[in-house]
Symmetry: C2
Subunit: 378 residues, 2 copies
């Protein structure tokens, strides 16, 4: 197996390190795409993608460039040239999975994405494996290490969001532009990918409601503490009667929920299936070597033979009657009067059991940019 | 694939149910061995093992009879007849793995044992999968649902061991003779099997020191609570500089350890490896359907092609200098005077950092049948 590596940043350099260390003659990294000619430091590097994508000797492409374009075009071109692909680019893959999976099936290639959800956790693999036997009814989890680090730090210290974000950035757990993490978009991509793998029900990530932690404050965590609850950003998806419900939302978990004990920058994901019931997997959801480990697992799986089947058609995301109680902190509490079950403070209220769709109509009316929403676990 | 099922109790009936429900024509249960002719209720049942073991049409045997004999003899005979074997019999497999794995390799058969450790958790599979890339340095976990249920119940309610055991028996979580569970022998088998799989270092289970929870009392859990610690029965194994250290021991875990949050009858196992760091898997470690799920996963793995390699030779188990602090409750505290760092109560002491070997010399001298020992997590 001759591998072409697109991108040699955090994940790509990890892949290089692991493959080199394995000294397995059955696969080798033949060529590496770097962004500009100035970055070429070794003979196997090139800044010209065609040198890799059109090299008949290369049979697998590892894409860890990130970003939507040109990553999508390169992956598509690789598949059309009959090369199997492993990608760690969750945002791109969640958005374009229909097109890419169709191309892979058409050209008899493998297309694998273990690193796209759960990082080093064998999440995608275990979902596929459980499905050999069971139906899976739901998935949920802490799918973003940055926000888990921020919330864990705020919970432990009582510090404000801005300070916790700054500390996460200083430690390299958060990027300079943290939007994708703190607004929940990263978890949304992973939730879409998890639902696709667990239920065979792909969805447009844009259809999944997303609430992030940008507006969380120390007082919200204090409310949780007083009520024996821990706040985590949770991605979840359920499959009921052929319809898909999915959401990204901060959730006040009960202290006794195992997820509540998963701190630091760890990820934890859980599937509920017919004969296993709930099964949970915990580990590093990001970082160079854990993510690269997932990529190399995919390479080994491809080496041992595995192709991509035609994708299922995308399905709409619906609430299908799911109701919950919500914690709402707002400068405009009277906008929520109709659905308020309990006033916890001047600007904090607990809703009655409602659907997310119903809640959203009130959120729109409130028009409060500092609004913070979290689900209160049943 | 035509399957012969040996034993149709808790696990065997689960296997039957899952395989029937899958309606996968690629494998079917052809014959079932029951204990006595009186138990024959269907045409495919027999009380004569030779009817199954000598049936040339049957190519895989599932052994879930339990007990050492005749299970061992039947499995050996099946392998010698060229049939692959899946077993859920941890006690038998931990004891006789050398003989059985050698026979499997000799006759080109598969011999799989996912259900032997971690029940429904894909523990054995994930250890094998991690080892495709990483070296594994240690494994540890809550590997017994019965004792986890008892300790969780005692922690939550303050009740005494005898009552918690009786409740576990009433709920079907503990057997009438609970010796294997509460004295730690079940965890010892699983620890040996985990070490064999994780490090390629098999050991005689009899070489692994084992401390159970038969003598635990409410006051021990109270000590833990006062010190922000939760007591769990932990199996652990480490691989350092070519030597194997392993032990089964109650451990006062820190409240912040994720394992401390794993309550009820759940199991949780963790491996530490080169590029992943710690990764943890949580789920049902026993029960008909979860355990049967593991057996059927093995059947699918065999169907997709996988043979047994020659076993590695067994290695001795040593402490290799590992030290820890121990909690000792004894009617004879002066026997431990030399190693006492702190007296916590009239009959409770905390040792200084010592090796387990050293501790054992004092335990022998104390000659106290109500002695309770636990490690205090660093």
């Amino acid at each position: 197996m001759k591998i072409g590596l697109l991108g040699c940043g955090v994940v790509g350099s990890g892949v290089l390190k692991i493959v080199d260390g394995m000294q397995d003659s059955s696969f080798a990294i033949a060529k590496i795409l770097v962004r500009t000619p100035a970055k070429i430091t070794e003979a196997c590097m090139t800044a010209d993608p065609d040198e890799i994508l059109n090299d008949a000797g290369i049979n697998v492409i590892v894409e860890c460039m990130g970003g939507l374009e040109p990553a999508r075009t390169y992956v598509l071109q690789a598949l059309q040239n009959g090369k199997s692909v492993v990608t760690s680019n969750k945002k791109m893959f969640a958005l374009y999975e229909q097109e890419l999976r169709t191309a892979a099936a058409e050209h008899g290639c493998a297309l694998r994405y273990e690193a796209c959800a759960g990082g080093g956790i064998p999440w995608i693999h275990e979902l596929e494996r459980i499905r050999r036997i069971d139906g899976i009814s739901s998935v949920r989890g802490i799918m973003n290490g940055t926000t888990n680090y921020i919330l864990s730090n705020m919970t432990a210290s009582g510090m404000q969001f801005e300070q916790a974000l700054a500390e996460a950035q200083a430690k390299g757990y958060a990027e300079a532009d943290p939007t994708d993490d703190i607004d929940g978009y990263d978890v949304r991509s992973k939730t879409a990918i998890s639902a696709m793998t667990a239920f065979g029900m792909p969805a447009d990530p844009g259809d999944i409601p997303v609430f992030g932690i940008r507006t969380v404050q120390a007082q919200d965590l204090a409310w949780g503490k007083a009520h024996n609850r821990i706040l985590k950003l949770i991605g979840r998806a359920e499959h009921t009667n052929g319809s898909l419900s999915a959401c990204v939302m901060p959730v006040f978990l009960k202290n006794t929920d195992i997820l509540a004990a998963v701190g630091s920058n760890l990820n934890a994901v859980e599937a509920v299936s017919d004969t296993l019931g709930p099964s949970m997997y915990i580990g590093q959801g990001a970082g160079s070597l854990p993510t690269a480990h997932a990529v190399v697992q995919d390479l080994l799986t491809i080496r041992d033979g595995c192709l991509c089947k035609e994708p299922e058609a995308r399905v709409p995301v619906s609430e299908s009657g799911r109701t919950a109680q919500y914690y709402v902190r707002t400068v405009n509490p009277h906008a929520f009067a109709d659905i308020t079950a309990e006033k916890a403070d001047t600007n904090i209220l607990l809703s009655r059991e409602i659907t997310l769709t119903e809640l959203c109509t009130y959120i729109e009316k409130a028009s409060d940019s500092s609004l913070f929403i979290a689900e209160v676990e049943k």
